[in-house]
């Protein structure tokens, strides 16, 4: 009995690795995105400077973001909303699986891989993703801009362990 040739083994290995990556990309994307949003939620809760992004002066930031992928692998809602704690109102971020029907902006990625590329990029280029058909938005683009700023600040925070806002 003879086993598969080296070439066949390599092909099989390559195929297995690709399948594994695809599985990770497809199945963990929701959780990975939620993990990142949770980090943002935590930063907003514990860091007063970062919290100013959603509550400053007379401005409070109320908004609903929906993140989706066209292949259905990703459906997450992030909502910036007030919460009452005792007598005080305070803005917070709430994250949940599933896509809200009403939103201020919906960000749809081509697939989970595109989302990964976007989230893991050092300096994600929204424009390039739109041009490459990897990302499309529905709703107010300025909300995307604001979220982009907050995400960048979060990256900065996690790198430096400190924040200014």
């Amino acid at each position: 009995m003879t086993g598969p040739t080296t070439a066949v083994r390599k092909v099989r290995l390559g195929w297995s690795v690709r399948r594994l990556i695809a599985q990770i990309e497809n199945e963990l994307s929701d959780d990975f995105l939620i993990l990142l949003l949770d980090a943002m939620r935590l930063a907003l809760a514990i860091d007063p400077a970062y919290h100013r992004n959603i509550e400053y002066g007379g401005d409070v930031f109320n908004a609903t973001y929906v993140f989706k992928s066209k292949d259905g692998g990703v459906k997450v809602t992030a909502r910036f909303e007030p919460v009452r704690i005792l007598l005080f109102k305070r803005q917070r971020l709430r994250v949940r699986k599933g896509a809200a029907k009403t939103f201020d902006v919906e960000i749809t990625f081509l697939n989970a891989k595109a989302l990964w590329e976007f989230l893991l990029a050092e300096d994600p280029d929204v424009f390039a993703f739109i041009l490459d058909n990897k990302l499309q938005t529905q709703g107010n683009l300025n909300y995307v801009m604001k979220f982009g700023y907050m995400a960048n600040r979060l990256k900065h925070l996690t790198k430096l362990g400190t924040a200014t806002a």
């Binding site: 992004n53 400053y56 300025n142 801009m145 700023y149 960048n152 200014t164």
Partner: protein, 859 residues
Amino acid sequence: MSRMLLAPDAALEALSKRSLEESPRLHRLKTGYLDIIERRNGKGVEVCVERALLITKSMRAPENARDPMVIRRAKAINDYLSNREIHFHDDNLLAGATTSKEMGAPVYPEFLGMSIWPELDQISTRTSNPQKLSAEDAMALNLEVFPYWMDKTVLERTRTRLTQESSDTLLALDLMERVSFFINGGGAVISHTVPYFQDVLKHGLLKMIDEATRMEHAASGAVSPDAAAKAHFYRAMQISMHGILAYANNLRDKADRLGLETMRDVLTQVPAHPATSFHQAVNALWLCHVAILAENVNMAMSPGRLDQILYPYYCMDAEKCTTHESKQQLIDRALELIGCLWFKIADNTNLVPESAEKMFGGAGSVPAVTVGGIDRQEEDAVNDLTYLMLKATQMLSIRDPNVNARLHLDKNPPEYQEWIAQTILKTRAIPAVYNDEVVIASLVGQKIKLEDARDYAIVGCVEPTTSGQSFAETSAILLNLTAAMDMTLNEGNRPPLELEGHNPINPHFISLEGIDTFEEFLAAFRLQLEFLVDQSVSLANALGESHRDWLPSPLLSCFFCGPMTHGKDLTDGGATYNSSGATHVGFADVCDSLNAIEWLATRYDEDEDRDENPFEVMRDAVAHDFEGYEELRQLILAQAPKFGSLSSNGHGNIAQRNAQWLITLLFDLYQHKDNARGGVYRPAFWTMTNHAGLGQVGRALPSGRKAKQVFSSGITPVSQSAKDLLAAYNAVGGLCRLDHEVGSVKYPIPGGIALNMKYTPFFHSLDNPHYVKGFRDLITGYFGAGGMQVQFTVQDYGTLLEAKEHPERFPDLIVRVSGYSAYFKDLNEAMQNELITRSQYDLFARKAVLLNQTKGESS
């Protein structure tokens, strides 16, 4: 008009020999300017948040909240102008600045300023065109400015309204946000126009305010349904103009404190009172230009025919000169003031997010200055200031202002033509040249009065418009013609793009299966093009309505003919003439695609053994980026007719016929569309850097162009395809003026063109009379053939390749993009590649020097 102090040939000759070093002030200003653009000595472009903060503060103020929007807007502009910090950064003779920085990029949050939000922390250090922004200013934008405007930008106001109305135009908005179908400039800016400065110079602002006050009282007493709106508008005009006066007074007081007596005296007179000298006129005009940029984005707001507007004030000074010495002093002083104005006009640049660098990288604010040509009475308008402005352009050789030279072959003197050629050869790029005869006829074809058409000036890149009378909004639409070709080949779709709920994107299409002839293919293409034109126009109109309702321009309206008479804001159709511009990307690529399709269809027709459908063959080849179809691609490149080339292979004038068909189709489509102000759309063919950006994401085309390659610029033939210089000129000239039949001439490109030509520089070109003459003769020959405009980059392949490799060696190398001038080092890689591969012509041989023949050359 004729020369005055420069009348003796010796005076003109002496002027031509002046060097920058002979004007110490201009030399110092140039050194300071280079420090900024080369980011030396800690200098560089800075983001200026002053306007954004003050305007936002005013708009937030509860006491203003109940005012009509036109008055709220005027108060905001007034608050900003009145409360600006006053800076004198250098010893420029003119007072006033666009921003608080030496060279600033102002933030306009009500338009697209928020696009830099994600980059606030990186904009200072990004690799591409960094713009300094302090952490404090970044935080002010993040916390105080941008949150207020999130739902109030012109784009979001439009989206909200269209959503509430469930408008069909939402599809157009979706298409626009995919970027690669069309872009509507109205989402970012209106600007793109030429104001009217003559009244403020002649009468002063106080008299203009009196007039607006009188009109307000008259409107208030009227009983017409629009009386209240008119009264509000006149009130807003007054508030805006008072803002300019407050700013001028603050400048005057600071000048006084600093002991700048001349400047103080100038500001004591203008802009409140009539200008009585050249210096006063220049400064008054500059202050009003600054004020206009307080209201509207610093993009292509063009000062116009400065040699005409300022000439009466130069003459006032000249009449006082009695000695040769005093005349020479006036010439020197005028040249110095013009140089100072050029630096002032260049004191700002656009705020461009890194993500948009692909499309707009390297752009300045493109304020166009126009010189020469004829006057309203059809007389030669070239005067002393024309030469002095060309001389300042030669001496300074800076990107802005975008200087344009009008040329009337019969009326303008030969020495003027020579000065144009010399200026281009000295700067290697500036000015662009316009054919008065064709431009004026094109405008008259747009129902512009002949006298007004003769007084045209250039907006931004290349767009002709009557000075101070036409609100031409020339950037209303930028449409990618290759999108229509894609959709024709793909049954109304544009893979891989998908639009939810719109499959196909255009439900009206002709399937290639059913097409037997090229004429039927043209009909299929027309369906898609018409769809995109309809979509882009509907969104442009929606944006126009939002400008009218939410972002009126009472201050700009003060510097236009019409609004004061009609009691209507510019955005509401107050100008004498109203139009919108629609320019196009990929013209030559689509022409060559049509040529290739016709060529293939003819081949298949002639070959009885072939029973495949040539249109489907072409679709499949394009869909596969010619993988597996390389033989076909090579045949197309070698044999199919090309726009801009001599006819060959027995195909006669296929290329020119198809180009004319496309030009005429676009003209007919747009001319039947009304804009939001009651005017029509004018087709144009200029592309800035969009042909490079859109090309990078474009699929293959039937022309044999593979995917992700840049498109051709403006109306220029595809790079490396038009090998005969005269044929290229004749092809373009033959489109600007269509001679359908005897006695029937049509001018189908009233919106303007950018024809980009690259010439091989010749060693000591300026000292070689044959080179200069050859240069001139080609322009005049092209204009004789109907050409409307041409602009040059006088560089060879080798130099541009070296500049790409070693940008530090060429910090101020200027090139023509497709419209404006740019520093080569500031352009993105795709645009640099487009400039490198752009056909380079040998002026003596009048043939293209092909890139593959000259790799590695350097001059």
